[in-house]
Amino acid sequence: MKNKETVLPAPVLIVEDEAMIRSRLDLILSELGYSQDMLIFAKNLAEAMQIIASQPISLALVDLGLPDGNGITLIEKLREIDESALILVISAWSTQQSLFASIKAGANGYVLKERDDAEVLMSIRSILRGGAPIDPFIAREILNQISTSNTPQTERVEQLDGQDYDQLTNRETEILNLVAQGLSNREIAEQLFVSRYTVESHIKHIYRKLSVSKRTKAVSTARSLGIL
């Protein structure tokens, strides 16, 4: 792995309760070129909240299952404070639904803790590059909600999010469909005769439409999805 990035976004907030995983992430970040003074560690939600309140954060690696609460709360808060902060969820044992919820709360991507170091590193790098990680499950979930909000007989007529999804363009829907089938961004780009970056920007658009800045809206969204 060659590290070609010249400017690394700093500081990086690492929210993780387990010491071993913290040191693992420390190692991975060092491999990416980060030095110790750029890293801020938080053991729980309260600490993390304090940190984001006191200083701006460029990149946050957030665990969802924290001893004193859910990481999603932190993601929402951080997203509220800073529109452009990069947030990656590094989850140990979470359902895919809660990962989806974290995407909706404003996370840029997620990776499972159990993955090999190389894969975790790859995810971080992809985030740093400004990529928009998406996986088949998330794509399917979004597509499902579009179809339910488009079907007139369903009871979710008044759902705001449904209206948000309605605003997805045909191209965006097409991309989601391909993602749901497991195609990589490059494959999608090849299939649609566009550049990889165009695909990524489309996905980022979809995410922006998905993401909700206000906490109340997030809660209602989460409820309607059956996550909370």
């Binding site: 992809s126 990680p133 990589s184």
Partner: protein
Amino acid sequence: MRNGWLNIFVTLCLCVLSFASSAQTNFAVSPTCKVNVDKISAVKTSSIDVVPKTGWVEVKNPDVWTERWPHYDGGVWYHFNWHWSCKDSDELKQPLAFSVEGMSSAGAVFFNRNLLWKDKHLVEPLSKSWNTPRFWILPVESLKQKNNDIWVYVVGNSYESPGLGNLEFSDITTAYDKQQKRLWSKRALFQVNLVISTTLGLVCFVIWFFRRNETTFLWFSISCLFWVLFIWNVINREVFPYPNSLWVMKTNLTYFVLYNVCFCIYLLRFVKTKFAELEKTLFLVAAVCIVTILFIPSLMVNIVFAVIFLLCIALFIASFCFVIYRAYKTKRRDFILLAVCLSVILIVMLYDISILFDGHINDHQPLSPYTSPVITFFIVIILATRLDKNIKKIQRFNSELEQRVSFVTSNLSSSLYARHQLELENVRLQERIHLAHDLHDGLGASLVRSMILVDQSSSTMSNQQFLSILKLLRDDLRQIIDSGSLTNNKTPDNPVLWIAPVRHRFSQIMDELDIEATWSIPEAWEIQPTALQCLTLIRVLEESLTNIVKHSQARHIDVKMYYPSTTHLVMIIQDDGIGFNVECVLNHGMGIGMRSMKMRLEKIGAELNIESEKGCTKIIASLRFGEGESTE
């Protein structure tokens, strides 16, 4: 109604006694003029057409001839000889009127040999004029100063107190007023009685008809029926529909007996008592009475009828006493009310009788007919209180019912909730069992294999080897979790979606590493593998791709899945990497992952073939359906 027996008493008294008022011979017809009856005489006659010359006897008015001629049935002529006179030789300016209270049972009236009025039937079946007052006007022109004659022909039977009622002279206005009074007390009152009884009887009958167990109402309506039949006789002017007067009397008394019995039973039922034996006896006695009444010869009618009549009265008084006793015992309001009613009847009856026997009874108005509407009113009150009580009971019951229903409903909902909880629990349990099963078959088997591998390893294993064993276990676990949480242990809808998560994950990695991949996956299942087969195949794919990405340095990967035949599924993973020694990997513990996969595939009835040379390595998993499925 209740005072019925009293009415009959009065009626009979009227029959027997009312004609016995004191004889009067002077009648004032105006302030100054008067009529003097000089002589009243009577004679037996065989028909209205014959006026005997001899046999005349002087009589008084009113007259009942059985005192004189016992057991005489037939016609009698009454002759009134009279004159009028005025003080100070005044002239009679206004016409006279004379009235007849009644005659038993039919007759005709002549004035100075001219017929004034005649009953319809003067031979059996006779008309019945005994309870019909009449009056006639005599114009001044038709009057003589002296020797005016009024002839009254009366035909009757010895058993019905035959004779002529009061015959009186007066001025027209007085006569008219008196007539109105008499019509009211002798006819209208009974008609009112009739209407009220009929109405109440019908109402009670209908109530009973819809509520068959309320026999009180039935008995009351039956007693009403007999009372109506009985009263009908009082105002009926003709014998019809009975063959003759005797039968009228017999049936009438029969009705009276039946009425009394029914009324008694009604009273007993009303005070909530039922003496089966007593009632039987009562019916028996009534039957005997009725038979006696129907078959008695006319000679003995009077005495027998009197006895039966007294029996009825005794029965009434006995039941009255019992009602009072019950009312006193139970202190129930409606019983007390009933007792009060009956007492009022009894008192009025006694009053009437005392007046009758007192002698001053000329046109005395008996009070008893008036009790009927009053008693009716009391009955209505009693019925109303009963109804009110019942409705209150129903309302109470309703509220109780409501409470019970809500209680039962809450019970039901809680039990339903418990059942729902139980079902949920069951589903959860099922899922757990599934998960445990999957863990046992997947992770557990891997674990056991890894243990055997470590155990049988001839040399000490390197960290790297341990790590790969652990990673294998980890990937197994992840697949079990994903397949479990994602699809609820069902195979995915189509192969593309099934492969998608793995494809996505590795596409990202391969993108990163600049490895080109081609995927060729069928759009739909031709034969759907079981969940375990899916899991195993996806693990093989995952493991192969992991190896390729890690070790092969390949630039191009080709993943292909197809159905060579309808019972055969093949998955080929091909790369252009450096290749490896197949022998070595499979047999000498080099690639723990691939060996594990091979064993696993064999377990689900599939086989794994690996061909490898530099630039072309093929991993072929081939699953034949209908063979290995049962070996699980």
